[in-house]
Symmetry: C2
Subunit: 155 residues, 2 copies
């Protein structure tokens, strides 16, 4: 079958914010992101994994220019919903591969993760869909990741 990865992207201008210990019941995600949207802040990547004992963590990325305001807004809403602590991480770069029908090519994600592993790059977050596989890596590894993944899939 034809290779289906059409591009690799690097975003070094984002920061990640996490709200820990969020109650896992309807309305919580709506409150959090409604609040952030009301402040006109664009949210890029949102990640929520499964809850444990009724609580989960929510992480999301915003442009670095919005860091201060986003942290302020997030801490305010975290208080309202009784969540745990809010933290932010500027040490990130987001490397993604874009393609079509990637879910029916087992191993595309595995290949991307292997390439990063071979370069000793730690994967801090992962989100995937049929059209895009995104990994968040340490900021210093952003360009190295882009080159390595580009070499693996595009060249």
């Amino acid at each position: 079958e034809a290779p289906c990865v059409s591009g690799v992207t690097l975003n070094e201008k984002e920061v990640k914010i996490s709200i820990f210990r969020v109650l896992d019941r309807p309305g919580i995600a709506a409150k959090i992101f409604g609040s952030i949207a009301k402040n006109g802040i664009n949210v890029d990547m949102i990640v929520q994994n499964v809850s444990k004992e009724g609580y989960t963590d929510l992480s999301f990325t915003v442009s670095i220019d919005n860091l201060e305001e986003t942290v302020k807004v997030t801490k305010r809403i975290a208080l309202v919903i009784g969540a745990g602590k809010v933290s932010f991480d500027k040490d990130i770069a987001r490397v993604s591969i874009i393609g079509l029908g990637m879910q029916s090519h087992p191993g595309i994600a595995a290949r991307m993760f292997s390439v990063l592993a071979k370069n000793r790059i730690n994967i801090k977050m992962i989100t995937t869909s049929e059209i895009k596989i995104s990994t968040v890596v340490p900021k210093k590894d952003g360009k190295k990741s882009l080159r390595a993944v580009h070499k693996e899939f595009i060249e």
Copy 2:
């Protein structure tokens, strides 16, 4: 600005597998998904949120037909990498909205989450990108979610 949500999808044929307490260092994700790919199993959604104290959880979805084999393979690799327990959840449906440039429309995700919240539907997992916002909800709420989100964005 022109509305940018072009479609809503529902996938009721997936199951979610989680590996808890995975060591957060290079090579782990590659081992897990390399192993699954070697067995010819297609992986759809992969979610990894940030680690705490050096460990994180990895969740992913596969077609329900692959459940048994995937659990077997995953348990085997979990042992190899010294991860914690492996669990699976058949009680899921994945509802996604697809569009263009959604990250520059603050509030699209918030609107989707609000619609689900108004219908008292709990969001079990979230992954987003500029082109797709995916939520995993309880299986019984799949069709209701699809209708509600479709009504909100498409009609």
